[in-house]
């Protein structure tokens, strides 16, 4: 977080545990969620007429029963202004138990990693390029 606020171009360490000795897939997924939240903090508070929302505040007005939940303004800006917790479950305990059966965040992160690994297929290199790379590896043996 501090390096991000200082504007470092690449911050490394995603997935790392134990002073750089051990890599954890679950930690990588948790760091992904944390990085998204850090990016939100870094993006700061935009102060524009749209976001000051003076007209919206006046339109809704104050008092019993007034709310912003159903405002078009809320729908329009919710994704830009708020970041989701991803793997970090923001539900109350009962909802978390009902939805996950009590699986903690590390277990769910590990499951997500397995799911990505079984579904995501990065674009492969061309066969001739693969062969050339293999030849280079073998030439060093």
């Amino acid at each position: 977080m501090m390096a991000a606020l200082a504007g470092a171009n690449v911050i490394y360490g995603m997935g790392m545990l134990e002073m750089g000795v051990t890599f954890s897939y679950a930690q990588l997924l948790l760091d992904d969620a944390i990085a998204k939240m850090v990016q939100r903090v870094v993006s700061g508070v935009d102060v524009t007429d749209d976001l000051l929302a003076v007209d919206v505040i006046k339109e809704v007005g104050g008092g019993q029963g007034k709310q912003f939940l159903t405002c078009q303004h809320t729908v329009d800006f919710m994704r830009k202004e708020q970041v989701q917790g991803g793997l970090f479950d923001r539900s109350v305990r009962q909802t978390w138990m009902a939805n996950t059966g009590g699986k903690d965040v590390a277990e769910r992160a590990n499951d997500t990693a397995k799911e990505i690994l079984s579904n995501h297929k990065p674009e492969p290199l061309e066969k001739t390029v693969q062969k050339e790379i293999r030849r280079l590896v073998e030439s060093a043996e």
């Binding site: 501090m2 390096a3 991000a4 606020l5 200082a6 504007g7 470092a8 171009n9 690449v10 911050i11 490394y12 360490g13 995603m14 997935g15 790392m16 545990l17 002073m19 750089g20 000795v21 051990t22 890599f23 954890s24 897939y25 990588l28 997924l29 992904d32 990085a35 998204k36 850090v38 990016q39 903090v41 870094v42 993006s43 700061g44 508070v45 102060v47 007429d49 007209d55 006046k58 590990n110 990693a113 397995k114 990505i116 690994l117 995501h120 990065p122 674009e123 492969p124 290199l125 390029v129 693969q130 050339e132 790379i133 293999r134 280079l136 590896v137 073998e138 030439s139 060093a140 043996e141």
Partner: protein, 330 residues
Amino acid sequence: MMTVRNHRASYLHKEGFSLSMFTPDELQQIHLATLEILWEEGIHVNSKDAQDIFKDGGAMVDYSTGKVKIRPYMVEDAIKSAPSTIIMASRDGKHDYVMDGSRVGFTTFGAGVSVIDLETGNPRKSCKQDLINTAILGDYLDTVSVYSHAVSAQDCPTKSCDLHEAETFLNNTTKHCMHIDLAHSGNIPKYIDMAAAIVGGRDKLYERPIISALTCPQSPLQLHKISTDIIAELGRVGLPVNILSMALSGATTPVSIAGTLVVHNAEVLAGIVFSQLANRGAPVIYGSSTTSFDLQHGSAPVGSPELGICNAGVAALAQFYNLPSYVAGT
């Protein structure tokens, strides 16, 4: 109801939320202290080729001890000739990542020697399959701006291990790849040739630098042959090199963070001077894994507040020099 709110003739708009580490005077003072160290004390260089390049560039070289004293103007020149923007190209052209100014991005850690097994949950030695997995996950996750070689493939033969690793990650992610552990000077040209095979020739790497490498000066104040070889050879074809100091305050540098930043800065700038003497204009990244050495536990904690402070300080220094930064953080 709609109120008319016209454009303002002047409105100072700020992008982003930031912290301010140092005043301009303080940055200048860290810089001057570093210049003094590089000239008065110098840096140890053990490659004859690198010593010659430093000498030809104006440094005072003592060939019997390997001590290289770098003149202040050489440092100022190198800071100016190194590019301020680096585009870390991806092999599919869809994930090119721009490093400059205060843009913030993330990468995987590199390189671990053990992993938490996906099935058993227990730690074990890392192998080639783990490297494949980290590359696939890095390819998938949007927050991973560039892929850093995350674990070592310890089931591969030692003398070609670095190339097995490169083959593995190049096959399994389209994002820019940074090799963290080029261990054999003889394998550096082969690593470059792998990228050349992908982009269609060594001469195309200038336009499409799809790989880079990280190398660490040894604290305190040493640049080893493998580092100078990596810097010279990658620079020659326009590939970025991340010069990353791993200073430990209280152990390899003074216990004070300011003093640690001076040693850190001297090590990285010595590498950048070498880079620019070897290949003027070559892309270099200002890197840091600098943290505190825990004097009570004899360990190097990377979750410490000092790590955050050091690396935020490093980002500030990199911006002061207008150089792209790569620091420890997550």
